[in-house]
Every structure is written in structure tokens, then in C-alpha cells.
């Protein structure tokens, strides 16, 4: 079952407003190829659930068209779309046993009893809940309920499964375990999955591609590594992973390289990603783990800073520094065994490559 049997989804110029005054989704264009695991990631209220509900058919699009396998579905009622869905609170029917829950989508499709049982059993085995068929949902733990919900959304072999923060209610450890389980199920079955979360780690570990939402707009749509390595704007840089911000003005641009003068006068070499040209304001984004204490003169950027605070975290040490007037400048030092001679209050030189610091749009 490794060949893809997923559905293709396309949003075309989709807009959505609930009250006729504000647009919750502003001109969404999104193309999801068959079999992809796409995650919608974004802060609360950014319109992720709304996008998912429009796809599932529970909210009408105010404008634009959504296509499922190239046919428009705006006027198809939810029960005819054949889309599996996992809800945040699981929405397992409390008055039915686990097996009845799983058999429900098969019953409404008029499937024969024997085939139903066969499929229910297979779905339960898939999520490793073989012996739990006769239990009520209330008699299961959170993680088990979650797996039943996933099994129910998959049991009728949909081509597309939507999941709206399905792991939100679980504790960290269980959440991580479930992330891998869902990922494996996706790999084995090959359905398309549209997954909503506001947990960036979850998005990065599970997805083929991530759509970062903010304010009803997709800020960036890329693979997880792209998203982390090459954020297209300050919001994405800020939202994904940890990030140091340095504000300044562009003084020189040559191709993808540029020079930026920070507000305290420091000159930095950076990669021009999202700037308007010489003289414009910019925010430099720099990942904490790309900053080195072992500087050498060949480095593109060498800056002095004072150590404000050090936190020992086992595999690495977090050093909070004051660099170019930014007192929240974080450096992560990998713990290599030999204790570095760093002390609070010390002024040291740090350095990084120009390609690691991106000149992005200015934030206020």
C-alpha cells in the first residue's frame, strides 16, 4: 500500500468572512498534491481551523473555489465529500462502543456486516487497539481515544484526512509518540493529510510541507528545513524556532549579499532575503546555534558582546548576551565536554557567517 492514493486539493482565491466586516482568510491560494502531508501552522486566530472547515464543508467560502481532485466542491455537502476528519476533542460518539464508532462510517455507506467487521478489526489493529473494540470512549485514556479517532477517520478509506490539532489535549511525551504514529500511518497508507497545529515542533517533525499562517495569509509555504533555514520574512523567522533579532538599515546591496548598519553603528554582512533596497529598514534574523565563540578572523561577522546570564541545559548551554544593544541575544553553545571558560559579566567576541544571518522585512 505504498503507492499514493491520496487526493489533490486546491484552494483558489479563497476568502472568508464571518461577519462581513473582517476577512478571516484573505485570498488563499494553496495547491496540495496527492499524498502530501501538509501542515497549517500559525498562532491562535490566524484562520487555520476556518480553512480546514471550508475544506470539510462546514463553513462556506465567502469567495473563491476549493477543488478536490480538480472538481469544485463548494456546493457539495460535507457527507458527500468523503473526507476523513479528526477533531481536536476527538468527537468520538460517547453512546457507542469503539467498534461501533469505527463501524459508523461503514454502516452509513451500506457496507455488509462481515466486511464492516473485517475493516473495523484492521483499523483497530493499525492503531494497536485490537482488544478495545467493546469499550466505550470514556473508558479509554486520552491517547487511546486519539488513536480511535484517527482510526475512525481512516476506516472508510478516504483519500483525504483533515486533522485539527488532534494532539492538543495530550501530554508532551504522548504527543511525541503519537506524532510518529500518525506519520507512519501516513507513510504506509499514502492518504493526503491536512494537519492543523500551532505547535511548530509538531509541524516540523511530521510534515512534507508547512504553510505558516498569520492574520489570514500564508506567510510561507515550504518544507520544514527550508522554513527553518530560509525564512522568507520576520514573522516566519520569529515563529519557527528560536531567533535573534537585530534592527538596522541597509547600506549596500550586491546580489544576494548586503551590508547592514545596526542602530548602534555595528556593520554586519548579511544575506538579502526580504529588503526593499539601500536605505531601507531591516531586521536581521540569526539562529542562536549558528553563533560561535571560537572566532577566527576569516568569519564574515565579528562582534563583541557581554555575557548576561548562562543556563546549563545538559546538551547545550544557553548564553544570554548583550550584543549591539540587544540584551535578549541568545547563543547556544553545544556541550562538547571540555568546559568553556565563560563567566557572567565577561565581554567576549562572537562571530557568524553572512549566510546565517538573513536581512528580512523590518518589524516595528
Amino acid at each position: 500500500m505504498t503507492e499514493s492514493r491520496g487526493a489533490a486539493v486546491r484552494y483558489e482565491n479563497v476568502q472568508k468572512s464571518y461577519d462581513g466586516e473582517t476577512l478571516v482568510v484573505k485570498n488563499l491560494n494553496l495547491d496540495i498534491p496527492p499524498g502530501e502531508f501538509l501542515t497549517m501552522l500559525g498562532p491562535s486566530g490566524s484562520g487555520k481551523t476556518t480553512c480546514l472547515m471550508m475544506l470539510a464543508g462546514f463553513e462556506p467560502a465567502t469567495h473563491g473555489e476549493i477543488f478536490l481532485n480538480d472538481s469544485p466542491i463548494n456546493n457539495v455537502p460535507p457527507h458527500k465529500r468523503g473526507i476523513g476528519m479528526v477533531f481536536q476533542n476527538y468527537a468520538l460518539f460517547p453512546h457507542m462502543s469503539v467498534a461501533e464508532n469505527l463501524a459508523f462510517p461503514l454502516q452509513v455507506r451500506g457496507m455488509g456486516k462481515a466486511e464492516q467487521e473485517e475493516k473495523v478489526k484492521r483499523a483497530l489493529d493499525m492503531v494497536e487497539l485490537g482488544g478495545f473494540g467493546s469499550r466505550r470512549p470514556a473508558q479509554l485514556s486520552g491517547g487511546q481515544q486519539q488513536r480511535v479517532a484517527v482510526a475512525r477517520a481512516l476506516v472508510f478509506d478516504p483519500e483525504l484526512v483533515l486533522m485539527d490539532e488532534p494532539l492538543g489535549a495530550l501530554d508532551k511525551q504522548l504527543r511525541e509518540q503519537m506524532q510518529y504514529e500518525i506519520k507512519h500511518i501516513h507513510e504506509n497508507i499514502g492518504v493526503s493529510i491536512v494537519y492543523v497545529t500551532h505547535d511548530q515542533t509538531e509541524a516540523l517533525t511530521m510534515s512534507d510541507r508547512v504553510a505558516v499562517f498569520n492574520d489570514g495569509v500564508i506567510q510561507q509555504l515550504s518544507t520544514p528545513d527550508e522554513l527553518y533555514e530560509n525564512p522568507q520574512n520576520s514573522f516566519v523567522a520569529q515563529f519557527i524556532g528560536e531567533n535573534n533579532k537585530l534592527s538596522g538599515t541597509v547600506t549596500e546591496v550586491s546580489g544576494t549579499d548586503c551590508k547592514v548598519r545596526l542602530d548602534d553603528g555595528t556593520e554586519l554582512a548579511a544575506e538579502a532575503v526580504n529588503i526593499e533596497g539601500v536605505g531601507s529598514r531591516t531586521t536581521i534574523s540569526l539562529r542562536p546555534e549558528r553563533v560561535e565563540f571560537d572566532t577566527d578572523q576569516s568569519m564574515d561577522n565579528l562582534v563583541k558582546g557581554s555575557i548576561e546570564e548562562m543556563i546549563y541545559l545538559g546538551d547545550h548551554i544557553r548564553v544570554r548576551m548583550n550584543v549591539a544593544g540587544n540584551t535578549e541575544f541568545i547563543v547556544k553553545v553545544r556541550n562538547r565536554g571540555q568546559r568553556r571558560d565563560l563567566r557572567t559579566g565577561q565581554t567576549v567576541e562572537i562571530g557568524w557567517a553572512a549566510s546565517d544571518c538573513k536581512a528580512l522585512d523590518a518589524v516595528a
Binding site: 470539510a56 464543508g57 462546514f58 455537502p77 460535507p78 457527507h79 458527500k80 465529500r81 468523503g82 473526507i83 476523513g84 476528519m85 477533531f87 481536536q88 476533542n89 468527537a91 460518539f93 460517547p94 453512546h95 459508523f104 462510517p105 452509513v108 455507506r109 475512525r152 477517520a153 472508510f156 483533515l162
Partner: protein, 432 residues
């Protein structure tokens, strides 16, 4: 406390394998746990003790007293103790009135009774069983003091009223002389205690069984009507956005703010033959002027008015249950391929069953004991058993019969509860 201790301590684990768990100081865990819980319980009991006492005194005690009245029959043996004793030797199948000793005892009893004026009460009580007893006792009471103690009493009594010579009179006295009686209950189910045993009353005198049946039937009908009308309203209340649903909720509660009498009278205005609805139907030509519908002072009137009055009691429990049903269940059902109807019937409706149970029980119990509305709009064909109870309490003053009817009503409700519990399960009821 000590008893449990010694019992458990005296029974150490005989067979080694299933060692019962003990606490550190060797007390079995179960005992220790029970002790801890009991302390909690005692404290809780103390907290509610005043309320418990209040309820016992003001609620349980009057009910118990009322229930007792349905079998209590001390009046004959209290008023005529010597007569009752003397009557014990009399054989009622002999076909003859009792002999002189009984009459002498009766005379002695009556002398005391007339002084305390209790003989009229005894008369009215026995009048329930045989007519004429009331006047017999009043008449005899007036002249008991003037009897000649030297002469035989029997002749003097028969002289006052021939009834004293009749065997029926004495049979009634003897039948109702024990301090407890089943007479009220038999009466309440249209039976009577005759000297020959328990029999159904003559066809023409039977009323209560039929009234019970009608009460049950009408209550069930009203319950059904409330459910049919209340379910969609409760659904709207739960589904509409807060502002609209608050307004609707006020409308639902509005009837509570007007007097019951006003509401019932309003139905009289609407439903009577010269009333608004009939006028409208005649005006539109749906019914002819001669064929105006009779909708009040009969069962229809009772059903309509009671459904209106009890509707909120159905809507509120339903609403409180529906409010807790997340809309994501229906959405989930639809996303799994269910049509709107299937989603409602297979997923939404079963989850509202606790609300339906609660609302139905509430409406049913309220309506089975209702009497104001049936009294006002029910005419003769729409009255309930409670109207008869009210009548016996306040007009005929036959409290024993009223109590017996009440007990039967209570028993019927408990029986229905039991049946409901067997079918649906009582823990499947959610009152809010």
C-alpha cells in the same frame, strides 16, 4: 467502630496465599479505609443534620401521617370499646342481632361518647360504609341519656330506631371494629368489604379505577405533547447564537411570570365555543356556525392547557442536556458520511435521551398530581384522580379514602419509575 475492629482482628488471614493488605500498624487496609471514610461521612452528616431534621419534620412526617390515615381505623374501637369487646362473641352468620350484653355495652359507650361528642364523628365515618349510620348515631346519641337503666336495653334501642334490630347495622360495626382497615384501599379500587368477603362494587358505583386509567392516559398524552413541542424548541435554544437564544429563553420562561389562573383562563377565552379560535374557524368557513368545536371543559381542554403549562419543565432539562452536546459530534458524523437525518438520529438524538427521560419524568409526575387546571378546564370528562382526592380532603372530609387514593397514586408513580429504570436506566436521567 469497635465492633468492626474486633471482628476483623479476630479473623486473621487463615489461608496464607491471598494476604489481605494491612496498614503499617497491622490493621487491615479495608478496615482502615472504612474508618477513614466513616469519619468523613460523619462530618458530612453533621453538616446537613439541621436540614435533614427540618425535612423529616416538615416533609416526611406529614406524608407518613397521611399514608397512615389510609389504613387507620381506630375510631370504632376508640369510641365504642366495650361494644367492640362484647361484639367479639357475636356470630354474624347466626342471622340474629346480638343479645342484651352488647346493647348494655353500647349504652355505656354512648353515654361517654355523647359527653365527648365523638358519636357524631363515628356516625359520619360509618356512613362511608353504609348510608344512614350518621343519622342513626345522632338520633340515638340524643336519647341515650334518657334511657331507663332498669329495663333491657335492646328493646329501648330498637324503639329509638329499628336499625338497631337489623343485622346489617351490626355487621358494619363489627367489620370496621379492628383498628386497621383495608376498607379505604378497597374503596379506592372500586371494591368493598362485605360480610361475605371482598367484592367489586356494583357497576354503577365504580369511579376510581376508571379515573386512575384516565389520569395515566392523559398524563402520558400531555407528556408526549410536551416532548413533541419541547424538543425542537430546546434544540433551537441550544443551537442558536447566544443573543437570540437568550431572548427565546425569556419567552420560554415567560409563562412562569404569569399566574397559573391567568394562563388557564386565557385558554378558556381562546377555546370556548364562542371563543377566538372557533370564531376564526367559522369566519374562514372551515367549520359551520352550528358545528363549532368543543375544545374546553373536556379532555381536549385539559390536554391543551396542561401541555402549555408544563412545557417549560420539558424544555429546560432537554436544553441543559443539549447545551453540553458539542456540535463537533454532528460534524464528525457528517464528515463520516452521514446525511443530516442519520447524523441527527444516530448521533445527536441518543445523546439527548437523558434529557428526554428527565423532562418526561418531570412532566409526567407533575401532571399526574395536577388538579387546578383540570378542575378549571376539564369539565367532567377531563378531570384527574387528584381532583377526587382534593374533593375528599376538602369537601367530603373522607381523609382516609383521600389518603388511600394518594398512596395508590404514589405507588403507580414508583412502579413507573421502576419500569423506566429497567428499560432506560435511571442514571440515564439528567436534570441539569
Amino acid at each position: 467502630m469497635t465492633t468492626t475492629d474486633t471482628v476483623s482482628a479476630a479473623a486473621p488471614p487463615a489461608d496464607p496465599p491471598p494476604q489481605p493488605l494491612t496498614t503499617r500498624d497491622g490493621i487491615p487496609l479495608k478496615v482502615s479505609l472504612m474508618r477513614a471514610l466513616r469519619r468523613e461521612k460523619m462530618r458530612a452528616m453533621l453538616l446537613i443534620a439541621p436540614l435533614l431534621l427540618f425535612i423529616l419534620l416538615t416533609f416526611a412526617a406529614p406524608i407518613a401521617d397521611m399514608l397512615f390515615r389510609s389504613v387507620e381505623n381506630g375510631i370504632v374501637s376508640n369510641t365504642l370499646p366495650r361494644t367492640v369487646e362484647a361484639l367479639a362473641d357475636w356470630d354474624e352468620t347466626s342471622g340474629e342481632a346480638p343479645g342484651e350484653p352488647v346493647f348494655a355495652a353500647l349504652h355505656a359507650d354512648l353515654l361517654i361518647a355523647t359527653e365527648k361528642k365523638t358519636h357524631t364523628r363515628l356516625g359520619s365515618r360509618l356512613n362511608y360504609e353504609a348510608s344512614g349510620m350518621s343519622s342513626l348515631f345522632r338520633k340515638t346519641g340524643r336519647r341515650a341519656g334518657r334511657m331507663d337503666e332498669a329495663e333491657p336495653f335492646k328493646a329501648q334501642f330498637i324503639d329509638i330506631d329499628d336499625k338497631w334490630g337489623e343485622i346489617d347495622t351490626w355487621q358494619v360495626l363489627k367489620t370496621f371494629s379492628p383498628p386497621l382497615t383495608s376498607g379505604y384501599f378497597l374503596n379506592a379500587v372500586d371494591m368493598e368489604l362485605t360480610p361475605g368477603g371482598i367484592e367489586m362494587k356494583p357497576e354503577s358505583e365504580r369511579v376510581y379505577l376508571f379515573l386512575f386509567a384516565r389520569t395515566l392516559f392523559l398524563s402520558l398524552t400531555i407528556m408526549g405533547c410536551c416532548l413533541l413541542l419541547g424538543y425542537p424548541v430546546a434544540y433551537l435554544l441550544a443551537a442558536l447564537p447566544a443573543r437570540t437564544s437568550n431572548l427565546l429563553m425569556i419567552l420560554v420562561l415567560l409563562p412562569f411570570w404569569t399566574s397559573l389562573l391567568v394562563r388557564t383562563s386565557a385558554w378558556k377565552v381562546l377555546l370556548q365555543q364562542q371563543g377566538v379560535i372557533n370564531d376564526f374557524l367559522v369566519w374562514t368557513g372551515i367549520v359551520s356556525d352550528a358545528g363549532r368545536l368543543v375544545m374546553i371543559n373536556n379532555q381536549t381542554g385539559t390536554i391543551i392547557a396542561m401541555t402549555h403549562i408544563l412545557l417549560p419543565f420539558m424544555i429546560l432539562p432537554l436544553y441543559s442536556v443539549m447545551k453540553t452536546i458539542s456540535p463537533s459530534y454532528v460534524r464528525a458524523a457528517k464528515s463520516l458520511g452521514a446525511t443530516d437525518w442519520t447524523a441527527f438520529w444516530r448521533v445527536y438524538f441518543p445523546q439527548t435521551v437523558p434529557g428526554i427521560g428527565a423532562g418526561s419524568i418531570l412532566v409526567f409526575i407533575l401532571s399526574i398530581g395536577y388538579y387546578i387546571t383540570p378542575e378549571l378546564v376539564g369539565g367532567t370528562s377531563g378531570i384527574f384522580i387528584s381532583n377526587r382526592i382534593a374533593y375528599h380532603i376538602s369537601s367530603s372530609l373522607n381523609w382516609g379514602l383521600a389518603a388511600a387514593l394518594g398512596v395508590l397514586l404514589l405507588a403507580a408513580v414508583l412502579l413507573l419509575f421502576y419500569v423506566y429504570d429497567k428499560i432506560v436506566g435511571i442514571d440515564n436521567v439528567k436534570l441539569g
